[in-house]
């Protein structure tokens, strides 16, 4: 369950609403569950509501981890007799 996708918040609107964008598509959703979200944040949207924010630093770190671990491993294996 939980089809939810990261979208960028491009506009805040009255009534705890916001306009988000994904790949050129724009949709109005509720931001009532993420009161701290500001324009420019990436929020995860589920059934028309933002339920959380993406931490860009953690995202970068995760991607690096995918890549690094593999490189580290390759280096380790290369070093094996």
């Amino acid at each position: 369950m939980c089809l939810a996708i990261p979208t960028q918040l491009i506009e805040l609107r009255p009534g705890a609403l916001g306009l988000v964008e994904l790949g050129g598509i724009r949709k109005e959703i509720s931001v009532a569950l993420v009161p701290d979200a500001v324009v420019g944040d990436y929020v995860i949207v589920h059934v028309g509501h933002a339920i959380g924010r993406i931490d860009p630093e953690e995202a970068r770190r995760t991607l690096a981890m995918f890549g690094t671990l593999a490189e580290l491993a390759a280096a380790n294996e290369a070093a094996l007799p």
Binding site: M1, C2, A4, A32, Y42, G52, A70
Partner: protein
């Protein structure tokens, strides 16, 4: 699409795949349950199963709220539409789930029931505002990800003083389901379903945080890795689980750090406890009665509780005898173990809920997996 495409990179997938093959110890079997239906769907859609080493097996868990919705609950929704003349609003996923008497919501609609598919609870509220003379019921299903939006919908209805709106609440809880699986006789006593660890749900965890899973790791000595939704997330999580098993650890690790922290979304949690409270027991399709596993609407919001408003009585309905959904949802059997899989029970004509939802183990296997033993021959014309 940012934060999506990067996590679907096939080149990185190969690297993680190589790691998995290097680290999975050839002499052992690893069985991990991915609890969340969204992960089941990702595994099927991206063909992840065949990228894993042969001794690493994924067991599809019951984290699909459509799959665990008992027949009796859908009967209530159909009753509201056909017998009480209410406009019943529901998510697309529930429309085709088979209920009693050969009906489903989509079939009840064909019989004249005013059943409307909505994308969110807010849409149901809008219908209630536009049709003040009609009763509007929102059929709310889902795990903890979907519960805060429903709570918001009920609170908004109260703030606006809507007089024709209510919610049929079928929200269920993840930790209770996981406990129930771990407590099931097969696992606890006989060890017949070795589950070595769990891939924890992505978006449920955004809301509830990673803390609630610490209990499983401690009490049952099972590692849990919370994984994001994209295929790279899933593969990385499986790798982290393999590592924990190899190293004899049983911890809660978080692969989805970009969206999940230990506490979760406190604002959403507060809203949920304001509107909902625990049911002492709730019937799950395939799992039977599970204690403290579901929510009901608090008395303060009674007028928005469809069960109270319409005086509904829940009637449990047994599943088709040949249907193995129960065993499949608990990871005890595979879809191909079910006698009616692919013959009587197909996505076109689903008998049990595992076949209706595209994330159900049976539908996923039918749609994406049943080709696996067939070699592809491409003949080049002379």
């Amino acid at each position: 699409m940012k934060y999506i495409d990067e996590f679907r990179d096939g080149a990185i997938a190969k690297k993680i795949q190589a790691r998995l093959h290097a680290e999975a110890q050839p002499a052992r079997q690893y069985s991990f349950m991915e609890f969340c239906g969204g992960h089941t769907h990702a595994i099927s859609r991206y063909g992840i199963g065949e990228l894993l080493p042969h001794n690493v097996r994924m067991i599809h868990g019951p984290g699909c709220p459509v799959c665990v919705l008992p027949i009796g609950r859908i009967d209530l929704a159909i009753q509201l539409a056909l017998e009480r003349g209410a406009i019943v609003c529901t998510y697309g996923d529930t429309m085709r789930v088979p209920a009693s008497g050969g009906l489903s919501l989509v079939r009840a609609k064909a019989r004249g029931g005013d059943i409307r598919m909505v994308y969110s609870g807010a849409d149901a509220l809008e219908i209630a505002r536009r049709e003040p003379g009609r009763e509007v019921v929102f059929f709310a299903i889902g795990f903890e990800t979907t519960t805060p939006p429903t709570a918001l919908t009920i609170r908004t209805a109260q703030q606006e003083g809507l007089k024709n709106f209510s919610v049929l609440c079928c929200h269920v809880l993840t930790p209770s389901a996981i406990t129930h699986i771990l407590e099931s006789p097969e696992v606890r006593q006989f060890g017949t379903v070795p589950i070595d660890g769990f891939v924890g749900p992505a978006h449920v965890s955004i809301v509830i945080g990673s803390a609630p899973y610490e209990h499983f790791a401690e009490e049952y000595r099972k590692p849990v890795v919370i994984a994001g939704f994209e295929p790279l997330d899933v593969m990385q999580a499986v790798l982290m689980l393999v590592r924990q098993v190899n190293e004899g650890r049983a911890e809660v690790e978080n692969e989805f750090t970009r969206a999940v922290n230990r506490d979760g979304n406190l604002h959403a949690q507060a809203l949920v406890s304001q509107v909902f409270e625990l049911r002492s027991s709730f019937e799950w399709r395939g799992l039977g009665e599970v204690p403290y596993s579901a929510l009901k609407i608090r008395p303060a919001f009674a007028e928005f509780d469809a069960e109270r408003r319409f005086g509904l009585g829940y009637q449990p309905v047994p599943d088709n005898k040949a249907c193995e959904c129960g065993a499949i949802l608990r990871g005890v059997k595979k879809p191909t173990d079910c006698k009616i899989f692919g013959t009587v029970c197909t996505p076109e004509n689903p008998v049990g809920s595992c076949m209706v939802s595209s994330e159900g183990a049976c539908a996923a296997h039918y749609s994406y997996g049943r080709f696996k033993d067939i070699a592809v021959k491409v003949e080049v014309a002379a």
